[in-house]
């Protein structure tokens, strides 16, 4: 039996390569636009540096000393820091969302969509910029953490793994943020913050879910943020709250599953919404 395949034309493959190169260049162009935004808005840089400092002061010292007494003396700040890493990653939803909502409102998205650039390039550019911003945010938080006695105890490979898990969650939050940003009007974006902040607290970021009312504790344990925070506490060798439920025992697994599931749902929704934006 002979099998004849249609010869692959060099033209087709070239245009495929060309197309790929354009996606890469679109991504870079959109991402660099966002990075210029950061450089041009010192207020944003200021707030992204102040946020970790203020958070550590409030949770580590204002509330932290009370928690430390109750916990029998172990260093609460060592428990707290992975929680703050996770929280900053989830709050990133708001950053993505506001940027997207503003672009939509100003007609910038319409311009981009009326141009021959790929929608993949636009959305990937957005993700690249946000991931880079988050990397810097977490790095700043880590430095602040080191200054107040937080440390990693299990080697640098684990630190990288933890970083990877945080960025994986941030990646999921980007697609959630893009989708919400395309749906929500810019004047309503402040509502998102009021929902987002409590959501980062119904989790194991600051205290053990076991200390909460039972129903709230269950929700908190299943919060995707709890999985990531629990997993990185393990990777850093920081004290956890040692829950014995299934989800608490499998935080590492869930720290991968949750972001992938969220991405799987919101990536296609965001792309679809972007393409048919009206």
């Amino acid at each position: 039996m002979t099998l004849t395949l249609p010869p692959r034309t060099p033209m087709a493959s070239r245009s495929l390569v060309q197309r790929f190169r354009w996606v890469v260049s679109d991504t870079w162009n959109v991402a660099s636009r966002d990075l210029i935004h950061w450089v041009r808005q010192p207020v944003r840089i200021f707030s992204s540096v102040m946020y970790p400092v203020v958070s550590i002061l409030i949770f580590g010292y204002v509330f932290g000393n009370a928690v430390m007494v109750a916990s029998g003396g172990w260093n609460y700040r060592e428990f707290l820091m992975p929680g703050l890493f996770g929280q900053s990653v989830v709050l990133g939803v708001g950053v993505t969302l506001v940027a997207i909502a503003e672009d939509t409102h100003r007609g910038v998205n319409s311009r981009f969509r009326s141009m021959p650039m790929s929608s993949t390039g636009f959305l990937a550019g957005r993700s690249a910029a946000d991931l880079l911003n988050s990397t810097l945010d977490i790095a700043v938080l880590m430095v602040c953490g080191l200054a107040v006695g937080w440390e990693w105890r299990l080697g640098f490979g684990n630190v990288l793994a933890a970083f990877g898990l945080l960025l994986l969650l941030r990646f999921a939050m980007i697609w959630l943020g893009i989708f919400l940003g395309l749906v929500i009007k810019p004047e309503n974006t402040s509502v998102v913050w009021t929902i987002l902040l409590p959501l980062t607290m119904f989790s194991d970021t600051f205290v053990s879910p076991q200390t909460m009312p039972h129903w709230m504790g269950v929700i908190s344990e299943w919060n995707p943020l709890s999985a990531t925070v629990g997993a990185i506490r393990g990777l850093f060798g920081n004290p956890g709250w040692g829950g014995d439920s299934w989800v608490a025992q499998h935080s590492l697994l869930m720290a991968v599953v949750w972001p992938l599931a969220i991405t799987a749902v919101f990536w296609p929704l965001a792309v679809r919404r972007y393409r048919s934006l009206s």
């Binding site: 162009n29 319409s110 969509r113 009326s114 021959p116």
Partner: protein, 323 residues
């Protein structure tokens, strides 16, 4: 001459609201079509369909010979869009905005820069080129937005209310720029709520209301639809009205009408300024106190009022400004 824009029976619904209700449009290459209508008439929806931004429910449309759905990807290389909002990036400089657009059109690094500089010069933005757009005036933003739409030298240009919200001076500036542009042979679809804007810029005007074209033609053709010139007089008292009607009867080419307040007389005439002189002479011989007299040519406002039964700008807040 081939049509650069051709739309047949376009329908677009938003739930129960029909934004486009069988819109037909044909714009020959190298001409400016003015799409004139009040807020909510469907102008922007039509532009969004034709620029591949919006899926629609019925009919078909092609631009530059390409179907807006099947040929969307290819079409995007050939069109430029400048919208109601200046879609420029606040935090980027004027140069960076245009340069970025060039690179996103895949013009290449150096050609993008050159094109950006060229357009900044042409749109009188050289001095502001390296300042963030944040500090630009409304007129400068619009010029930059228009420049961005021209980066890839589009064969068809869509201008969606390019001067809405601009002060009269900036509006005049935009008009000059647009006129110059079309002299270069670009096909333009211009939407506007300003009748004088369509009058000045467009070769042909389509009046649109409730998502369909209700009249189409040159500015003169549309004006002819509502009749020709007329004399309008305001007299001091109701008694003078009858005398005026009698005195001016020889000039009238149709029935003389009197408005409800009773001292306003409208006489359909033809013959231009000579008629006005003649009318004054006729009235001079009578004991009539004339408060005001003038020769009026129909405006596109009259056209719109005649076609739709309401003024084009009645639901607008800034519709009164103009040059």
């Amino acid at each position: 001459m081939a049509d650069a824009i051709l739309a047949e029976g376009l329908v677009k619904r938003y739930g129960a609201v029909v934004a486009l209700d069988g819109l037909d449009l044909a714009v020959p290459e190298g001409t400016i079509m003015g799409l004139l209508g009040p807020n909510g008439a469907g102008k922007t929806t039509a532009v969004r369909v034709l620029t591949t931004l919006l899926e629609f429910d019925g009919g078909n449309a092609s631009v530059a010979g390409l179907d807006v759905v099947k040929g969307a990807r290819e079409l995007r290389r050939k069109i430029g869009l400048s919208g109601q909002y200046a879609a420029v990036d606040e935090n980027l400089t004027g140069f960076e905005n245009l340069d970025m657009v060039g690179r996103l059109y895949h013009l290449g690094k150096q050609p993008s820069r050159d094109r950006a500089r060229e357009l900044l010069e042409r749109f009188d933005l050289v001095e502001a080129a390296d300042r963030p757009v944040k500090g630009y005036s409304g007129g400068m933003r619009r010029r930059l937005d228009l420049a961005a739409a021209l980066v890839a030298k589009p064969v068809v240009l869509f201008l969606d209310e390019p001067t809405t919200g601009l002060d009269p001076r900036s509006r005049l500036g935009m008009w000059d720029v647009i006129e110059e542009l079309v002299a270069g042979g670009t096909t333009v679809l211009l939407t506007t709520q300003y009748l004088e804007e369509a009058d000045r810029l467009a070769d042909k005007i389509a009046v649109i209301d409730h998502g369909r074209v209700i009249a189409e033609g040159t500015s003169d053709q549309l004006k002819a639809q509502v009749g020709g010139e007329r004399l309008e007089l305001t007299v001091a008292s109701a008694r003078d009205v009858a005398l005026t009607k009698a005195a001016l009867a020889p000039l009238a080419i149709a029935d003389i009408s009197v408005d409800e307040r009773g001292n306003h007389v409208i006489v359909p005439v033809s013959g231009g300024a000579d008629v006005l002189v003649e009318a004054v002479r006729l009235l001079d011989g009578e004991a009539i106190k004339v408060l005001d007299v003038g020769l009026r040519r129909p405006t596109l406002d009259d056209v719109f009022l005649t076609l739709t039964g309401r003024a084009a700008e009645e639901d607008l807040t800034d519709g009164e400004s103009g040059a």
